[in-house]
Symmetry: C2
Subunit: 388 residues, 2 copies
């Protein structure tokens, strides 16, 4: 187990009516709030109006910026930075899912920064301070509500890049599972793949002696696999929605990766897909992750046997580890299919004609991943496996 | 799943050499440190001298108060409060295990309080502020290094009482598994029982729809059961020590209980034992917890079947849940015995002649537990089961 530092300072308020506490929480950070959100759903559902009321009841002034798209765009982040500076806002409140939160975090570190916010994402600068960010979560998936990271897409070249810092953890996050009742099955499933991928990026490691967090990762995966079909079959099942929502937060608040070397190749390989094709990140991960597993398992077979046996209860073939491993991957794909996700590019309508370009971009800053460092040729081979 | 609020603000610095960072961390809270510790072990091992050096190197002034005993005493807490006030200390640094940390926390809330610190533990007052507390952990067991609670024994009547508040979480905790190499097998085993009990107090609940944290609790228990014999057989096995140390923190930082109704009857029933007989808390729990399980399982059989099957891999007897349950309890006792713990009072040299008095004291403030509220007669029956 590696040395680590862990501190998760985000205050999670979870349960029915959680969003009603937004005024009290937000008021601790100042007088003026930038209300940041995506499309029309939170308007149509009445959530936006309710949140505005809670904020006003707490004596807060509101500036708003909607229009965040999935795979949130740098141009809107820049617009938000300008707006927040001009209006001198004290807090950015993200009402939505991971894209809205990521956009809010990028605005947060952009406002006090002298240079270009994109420099953080290009690895050219480190964020030193941020405006505080609060969250009313509507989509359990990205875990951004208490994570350190943000992923932004620069439309100039469609570069999708992550950046993270401990200062970027939201100050508070209000999680009401009832707000997720209206998520359609496909979007629910995409969230499930995203949270599972967050766990698996941490799980597949060469680091020895991480038995405790292995067990926690496996437990979280099994629970998500158990709850997801329930949430999809019964969208208003509070228990299923609540367990998924809490799982999505824990999957990505850092806890499950402590002491481990994490991988993240699949995420970065997927980012090229959703950067270009605007496929939902979770759907892209359901395609890329099994392909990555098929490509890398030979480098650490015992870990993939453990995954198959402990997560998917594959009856272990002790004489033939490979059979066990491949059955584990098959069951992962079968699970993704069963909740309506694509597991091949063609099932998502993505053609095979830009693999070369994507592999080039994915490895432009060096090899991806740590279980096995993957160079351009490796990433190309994984895109091919996504298609086979 | 119940509504909840979760925020764990303790900064955990984990790994080899973690204690070397104590100067940097402590210096963030002021200039004068109350160094609080127990007996001679940290002196003999040279840890105290090293910690003093790190503090002085960071420009800090040290006041010291040693002598914390297992089941930490109110009299020493009062002495610490006087000392901290007189010396105007800025931070209390606990170097030791749960008893030292609990004592430090009690001093912390006592210093700024106008009234009597014991009033907090008797439920007569709520702590509003505290001196900051930091930790260098030497015994993985109590989880007090990032928990909200403290348990103090008042020698006047040997009352052992818990108190907790979110303000009591330590500001930082430095966890170096190497510092636990010197823990003798029995003390290691007592720590194991303590951390398992912290999980089981949260696990045995009537709250429905807590599948995600069920899985996490079961995973944590399985991992502890796997690591404990290794740490006992090979005291300098870093991996085993590291996994146990991290498990003990997570077992009691609050996470595993979120959304659940927790029980805590076994802890309170045990407190009477260790309050009177000064038996190690973990050893007392190894006796009380299985007895409690035998007494209450009929009220929620499916939960005890789940425990047996998922934690101890009991082959389920679908026609006879009771057989499965009792086999689970038997395996828990067998596990405790295998690591050298007593599972009956007589094995710990505790006589049967004060059950009435202990049952009376345990229920003086009302019934104990929430899975089943236990009145005096119930607690008496559980003490009898501890003896049978």
């Amino acid at each position: 187990m590696r040395n680590f530092t862990f501190s998760n300072t985000t205050k999670i308020i979870f349960g029915k009516g959680a969003e009603e506490k937004v005024g009290r929480e937000a008021a601790q950070y100042g007088r003026k709030v930038l209300l940041h959100y995506g499309g029309g759903h939170i308007v149509r559902s009445g959530l936006k109006e309710r949140v505005e009321k809670y904020l006003k009841d707490a004596g807060l002034e509101i500036v708003e910026l909607g229009g965040v798209q999935p795979n949130p765009r740098l141009s809107l982040v820049r617009e938000g930075i300008e707006l927040a500076r001009r209006e001198k806002v004290d807090l950015i409140l993200a009402v939505g899912g991971g894209s809205v939160i990521d956009s809010a975090k990028a605005i947060g570190i952009g406002v006090p920064c002298q240079g270009d916010v994109w420099d953080f994402f290009m690895g050219k600068a480190e964020a030193q301070e941020t405006l505080p960010v609060g969250v009313v979560l509507t989509i359990p998936a990205a875990g951004s509500e208490s994570s350190t990271g943000s992923v932004i897409t620069n439309e100039d070249g469609w570069l999708k890049r992550p950046y993270g810092s401990v200062i970027m953890r939201p100050k508070f996050a209000l999680l009401n599972p009832e707000l997720t009742y209206s998520l359609p099955p496909y979007q629910t499933a995409c969230g499930v793949a995203d949270m599972m991928a967050h766990i698996m990026e941490r799980y597949f490691t060469n680091e020895p002696e991480v038995g405790f967090s292995d067990h926690l990762c496996e437990a979280a995966l099994r629970s998500i696999i158990q709850e997801a079909p329930r949430a999809i079959a019964e969208p208003e099942n509070y228990g299923a929605r609540a367990n998924l929502m809490w799982a999505s937060t824990i999957a990505h608040n850092g806890l499950l990766g402590m002491g481990r070397e994490e991988d993240w190749a699949s995420h970065n390989i997927e980012h090229e897909l959703s950067g270009i094709y605007d496929i939902a990140h979770g759907a892209g991960l359901a395609i890329v992750f099994p392909a990555w597993m098929k490509y890398v398992y030979k480098h650490n077979p015992s870990r993939f046997v453990q995954f198959a046996v402990r997560v998917f209860q594959v009856e272990q073939d002790f004489c033939n580890p490979e059979r066990t491993i491949l059955e584990g991957i098959r069951r992962l794909e079968e699970f993704f299919r069963s909740i309506g996700l694509p597991v091949r590019l063609k099932e998502a309508g993505i053609p095979a004609d830009r693999f070369e370009e994507m592999a080039e971009k994915a490895t432009a800053d060096g090899p991806q991943g740590s279980l096995v460092p993957l160079y351009k040729g490796d990433v190309l081979a994984i895109y091919e496996l996504c298609n086979s």
